[in-house]
Symmetry: C2
């Protein structure tokens, strides 16, 4: 973020400052990837929503792939919250993870990132590869800090429940899950995440 | 299967017998819904893959919506297996459910149904409505036979884990989950399904 601000300060000319332009592009991209998925989102459509020339999107980001990677990174605040889960008593780590995950899905901006990844992964193999990579990185790093017992398996098991929750509650919106208060969802999934993180896997 | 062969044997004339034609259409539809999702699958594309005139698909099924409902129903054998889960000791019901779910995802035909529902749900609101309805019906019925304690909530929580497993293992194919033997996956998710089905929810 700070490098974007610095480089915008250096810019001048007819266009709005590139940070504003970049924000308009990344906001539009995030929304379109979340609602349409990687496959159906287009550089042209994203440029149109952002009110800029498609050539500018290409100049800034190079490719749809690169743009997807840029906007589908978790916000630093969420990444920090994930990293902090490992600090604290082991017997409540599942609840701390549940709080971060549910909080991430309640916030419209980070929710659109999570849903963008899921929608894209299920519509396009390249996007699935990006999602694999990011899930492994974001979840894997934190799980490795929590346990040395099969952290890779535990990370994908956690990921499977998180992805399923996001899909069932926010995409398919199955009731009564879709209308439950966040607090209740945390209560319901915390024991499952605790199991996947800490308890013997079988 | 046997009734399909019998009725096709009775037919003659210019077209292949309607059961065979129906099978070709439903096979093509199932594959296209699973790979493309509801939104991108077309009556024309399905007809083309089945080698029939699009008008015939419309005459048999009426609409894409009706065709989706027809081919996305779980095969009777799978539905029977779900119904049988409620029979047997309560303390192992989670494992029995895990065996049915993982078995359903290992079989190419029922897997394509599950993935078709998931891909469609995340690309189209109408498909999401169909998925909500079928998840609630297929899972809800069995859970209600297992417990009287908040069966609707338990059914969607089970559904969230099943959907997340299908997505992570078979769509996104995150390792090491994608390569695990079915036996291991059953071991890993059985305690979670047991929790959602039987244990106090909080």
């Amino acid at each position: 973020m700070s490098s974007a601000h610095e480089s915008s300060a250096k810019r001048s000319g007819r266009r709005p400052g590139p940070t504003t332009t970049r924000e308009a592009i990344t906001d539009a991209a995030r929304r379109q990837f979340a609602e349409l998925g990687y496959d159906r989102a287009t550089m042209r459509g994203i440029a149109s929503e952002a009110g800029v020339d498609p050539a500018l999107v290409v100049r800034f980001y190079g490719s749809k792939d690169a743009l997807f990677r840029e906007v589908m990174a978790l916000p630093p605040a969420v990444a920090d919250r994930f990293a902090a889960i490992a600090d604290g008593p082991t017997e409540t780590v599942g609840r701390r993870l549940a709080e971060v995950v549910v909080g991430m899905l309640e916030d419209p901006r980070s929710r659109s990132i999570v849903l963008g990844r899921i929608r894209s992964a299920s519509s396009h193999p390249d996007a699935a590869a990006l999602v694999r990579e990011t899930v492994t990185r974001d979840v894997g790093r934190f799980v490795a800090a929590v346990t040395e017992d099969e952290p890779e398996k535990r990370a994908v098991l956690v990921g499977s429940q998180v992805v399923g929750l996001a899909l069932a509650r926010h995409v398919v919106q199955v009731e009564p899950l879709a209308s439950l208060p966040a607090r209740d969802v945390i209560d319901y999934i915390a024991p499952v995440l605790q199991h996947y993180l800490i308890e013997p896997l079988r």
